[in-house]
């Protein structure tokens, strides 16, 4: 008989698999990598999952050899090699591939929001963005603010900008221009969309894709992809470390 079919091994295997998953989630949480994957407001759910997995794992109490024949508490749901491989896939992939937040590579697949559509945001978020001081606005706040204006290119000209994002070179950009971007996540990275601002900077070409920078500058009327919008004329572009929370949250 296949070793896996013996109730003792089944129980031990299931308990270990559940614990492995719980430990994996815990390490994501402890190292802060969790926020590469989900919105921070779902952190409590992850904690619940860890507790749930451990409680369920511990309910598979080790079985003595003499209980095996009795099999009173074991179930007929057998976990085979294939099942085990699939269930452990998230843990294996998570450990093998170094965690990395979404970046330039994921942008090639997505719409770039340089000026969001009129109704694309929560009214409350737009109001909150409008009340913020210009220097405190992040990329998403700026797009909210732009969306509330009929003619953002003119209206915001001259306002100071201080934002953080990663670099992406888009082929539709003009000379000495680069996009500075953040992904916006409402649930998990599966629903990520990207918000971007066009930055004009003499050394734009020297900035590599995915490099994180802080951009300080002033808004001026400009255009992207044939559309008039405010762009940042940078005074300073400072390389920065990856923020603790790489995404902005809706």
């Amino acid at each position: 008989m296949d070793v896996l079919n013996r109730p003792r091994f089944q129980n031990a295997l299931k308990a270990l698999a559940l614990l492995a998953m719980a430990v994996f989630l815990y390490t994501r949480l402890a190292s802060g990598v969790l926020f590469f994957y989900i919105n921070q407001r779902f952190m409590a759910y992850t904690i619940f999952a860890i507790v749930g997995l451990v409680v369920v794992a511990l309910s598979y109490r080790p079985m003595a050899r003499r209980d095996e024949a009795d099999g009173a508490l074991h179930s007929h749901h057998r976990l085979g090699w294939a099942g085990l491989a699939i269930v452990m896939a998230p843990v294996a992939l998570g450990l093998l591939v170094p965690p990395q937040p979404l970046g330039a590579a994921a942008m090639q697949n997505r719409e770039i929001n340089v000026a969001s559509q009129a109704r694309s945001a929560l009214p409350a978020a737009v109001r909150a963005a409008a009340q913020k001081d210009a220097a405190d606005r992040n990329l998403l706040d700026w797009l909210h603010a732009f969306s509330a204006s009929p003619n953002p290119a003119q209206e915001f000209a001259g306002q100071p900008v201080d934002v953080i994002g990663f670099i992406y070179h888009d082929e539709r950009l003009g000379e000495n221009e680069v996009l500075v971007n953040r992904f916006v996540v409402s649930c998990c990275v599966a629903d990520a969309s990207v918000v971007s601002m066009v930055v004009r900077w003499p050394d734009a070409a020297s900035l590599p894709d995915d490099a994180w920078v802080q951009v300080k500058g002033v808004l001026q009327p400009g255009e992207f992809n044939g559309r008039a919008l405010p762009i940042v004329v940078a005074q300073e572009v400072i390389p920065t470390a990856l923020p603790n929370q790489p995404y902005l949250y809706r």
């Binding site: 919105n39 992850t46 929560l122 649930c187």
Partner: protein, 366 residues
């Protein structure tokens, strides 16, 4: 009623037809995995040859892993919660109560099922193990199907999140009303079906035992042990929760991989550029909902991003169809239903929500 400890539950004594189908499902699972992996590799490599080679390929893989883990980590809490609820139902709910209090006629059953999410607030990952367990307790088919499809939307949490995203208006009202209606209609259609045509053999066997208690003397799978000590009952419940979790996690993981693969390879703009027509826009948003596989508790915030550019009917279709069926949930359905039925469970809500979206686009001016 005093029930013996379930001694019949060892794999050796599992009836042979169930085993054969178990083997078939396992084969299919492998086949599916292979197809997905092969397709992903083919697509990635064809891209890599066009583009920047190894670095580019590596970035693609990394993006895939990030999105896959994102969907998985987001869904795991809901799956473990659903599994624990399922385990508790198995041990603490008396089959006789289900038999006595829930309607069996198709129409009332479908309506009750459609509204049951208000009592059991579960999302699309948690609802599947709960429905399966209720079927094993003899729940009528119509109630289960309507519950499965409606619960991810018609529940207090999702109603609240939809309200906070869209406020009182056509999208909010339309989402709840149509989710309920479509789920009830599909549930009603299952009113005449026989359990053995619909449920997977292993689930069906228990369903049959539960609804015909007379025949179940020598083959009692019941986990309802009212006279066992409480500690033992809880342990049994968590044991069953673990088994459920493993059963469903396979489908969830394969589904998340598939969804992540599609997202890595198919540009969103392809779907969104399809068009603005009253019919095409609805189809595009349905496809997007299916591919994205976002949890129903938050998809309203996501849909908001499309509200300006897309027709209201198509946004509604996204919000109604997406929670009922997406890549990961339709794979999880395979753990409960026969394959043919899973096709119906995808196609019927798809057609009905398409009909709804198109009708809305053509006739409703709110």
């Amino acid at each position: 009623m005093i029930v013996e400890r379930p001694k019949a539950a060892s794999p050796v004594e599992t009836p042979s037809p169930a085993r054969a189908s178990e083997r078939r499902v396992r084969l299919m699972r492998w086949g599916l995995t292979l197809v997905v992996v092969a397709a992903a590799f083919a697509a990635i490599f064809s891209d890599a040859l066009r583009g920047g080679g190894a670095v580019y390929l590596y970035q693609r893989v990394q993006t895939f892993v990030t999105i896959f883990l994102g969907i998985f980590i987001e869904a795991v809490p809901f799956l473990i919660a659903g599994s624990i609820v399922s385990g508790l139902i198995a041990v603490f709910v008396d089959q006789a109560a289900i038999d006595r209090y829930l309607p069996k006629a198709a129409l009332p059953a479908a309506l009750v099922g459609g509204g049951m999410g208000m009592v059991f607030p579960v999302c699309e990952c948690g609802v599947v193990p709960v429905v399966r367990r209720l079927y094993e307790k003899g729940l009528p088919l119509s109630i289960g199907v309507a519950f499965l499809l409606a619960a991810p939307v018609v529940n207090p949490i999702v109603i609240l999140s939809t309200y906070s995203a869209f406020g009182w208006g056509p999208v909010f009202v339309g989402r709840i009303v149509f989710s309920f209606l479509i789920a009830a209609v599909v549930g009603f259609l299952f009113g005449r079906a026989q359990p053995e045509e619909v449920l997977r053999p292993a689930v069906c066997q228990l369903h049959h035992d539960a609804s015909h208690p007379v025949h179940s003397h020598e083959h009692d799978h019941s986990h309802y042990l009212p006279n066992a000590p409480l500690g033992l009952r809880f342990r049994q419940a968590f044991n069953l929760a673990g088994d459920d979790f493993f059963d469903m996690a396979r489908y969830l993981i394969l589904g998340s991989m598939l969804a992540a693969g599609m997202q890595t390879l198919v540009p969103q703009s392809t779907l969104l550029a399809i068009g603005q027509g009253p019919v095409i826009s609805v189809l595009a948003m349905q496809a997007l909902a299916f591919v994205l596989s976002v949890c129903s508790t938050v998809d309203a915030f996501l849909a908001l991003a499309f509200a300006g550019t897309f027709t209201t009917g198509s946004v509604l279709a996204f919000l109604v169809f997406g929670p009922m069926v997406d890549i990961k949930s339709s794979l999880m359905f395979l753990g409960v239903f026969r394959r043919r039925i899973v096709v119906y469970l995808i196609a019927l809500p798809m057609l009905l929500s398409l009909l709804m979206g198109v009708w809305w686009n053509l006739n409703v001016r709110w």
